[in-house]
Symmetry: C2
Subunit: 204 residues, 2 copies
Amino acid sequence: MIKQRGILYVLSGPSGVGKGTVRKALFERDTHLQYSISMTSRSPREGEIDGGDYFFKKREDFEQLIKDNKLLEWAEYVGNYYGTPIDYVEQTLDEGQDVFLEIEVQGAMQVKKVFPEAVFIFLIPPSLEELKNRILGRGTETEDLVNNRLSAAKVEIEMMNAYDYVVVNEKVEHAVERVEAIVHAEHFRRTRVEKQYRKLLEVE
Amino acid sequence: MIKQRGILYVLSGPSGVGKGTVRKALFERDTHLQYSISMTSRSPREGEIDGGDYFFKKREDFEQLIKDNKLLEWAEYVGNYYGTPIDYVEQTLDEGQDVFLEIEVQGAMQVKKVFPEAVFIFLIPPSLEELKNRILGRGTETEDLVNNRLSAAKVEIEMMNAYDYVVVNEKVEHAVERVEAIVHAEHFRRTRVEKQYRKLLEVE
């Protein structure tokens, strides 16, 4: 049996759609996936563990990693860098383990350039109305901010055509079941397994 | 909500691999799929129902259907025609129902010409040794015939590259689970749902 490389799954979608909730529910059910820990230049909060919650790096070290192409994707939020270290992803895949990323749409497009063979899953709300309700539901944002986020989401939805799958997040448990079926089915895609199986069925 | 066309699934694989067993086990578990009934020019056996076991046709009527391109795929075995009527498949798909075909590899290649968007699943044995054992296990064939069938199977395995998925039939229950995951996941392929979802998320 030839050892098969792991599969990289990328869950993304417009801001407010519930990516984090779906990812957490998925990891409660599925233990074979490896979750890629993000790297950040912000300071650890109380109780946060380096290599557990995040990989914590100094700002200048993070910038050096960007320059050295050591990040699969990265962005700056509120003055701090956040990103996905490429070494962990590469190493885990090489070990034959599947890696799961839950990231913003801009980051997903960066991943696609490096791993075009990854499985890209786009999570969408059942309607724009519902997305607005979800953003309002957080109760932490002004009306202007809510409208800004909705406009941004509309632009992000335009990026759907770069994805392999589209899953509606109407009920979390259904969305998780759908993502699980996709994760399972992709192991049998001919383009991934053909070489291995041809070897398996070679004439002795 | 825009009504979506059904998906056509085609399960195929080398002779002796256990396609029929997997298909029967799948239909015991999954009731949403419609099984396409074959058409034949042979006479009904006792108890066989027209439109149940087969659609029974006179030989000359079958030949006319071939000429009129009314068969999605067809072949002649032991002097009788067997085939899949295209009207049933088209009509069921138009009703938004998924259709499942379990056919020989030659037939699958004919289906691919008409329905390139169908989902093609290739069932393979865990090894050629095991395939030989399965053919021998039927106990109905001479050594020469077994070797002929094995040679044919090797040629058929070469056709793997025309398929979307490859599933190893080591244990039937695992093969069925894999086919089920594929059937489920294909409903969320972006190319199938994008148009519908873009409409759903249009600005009111």
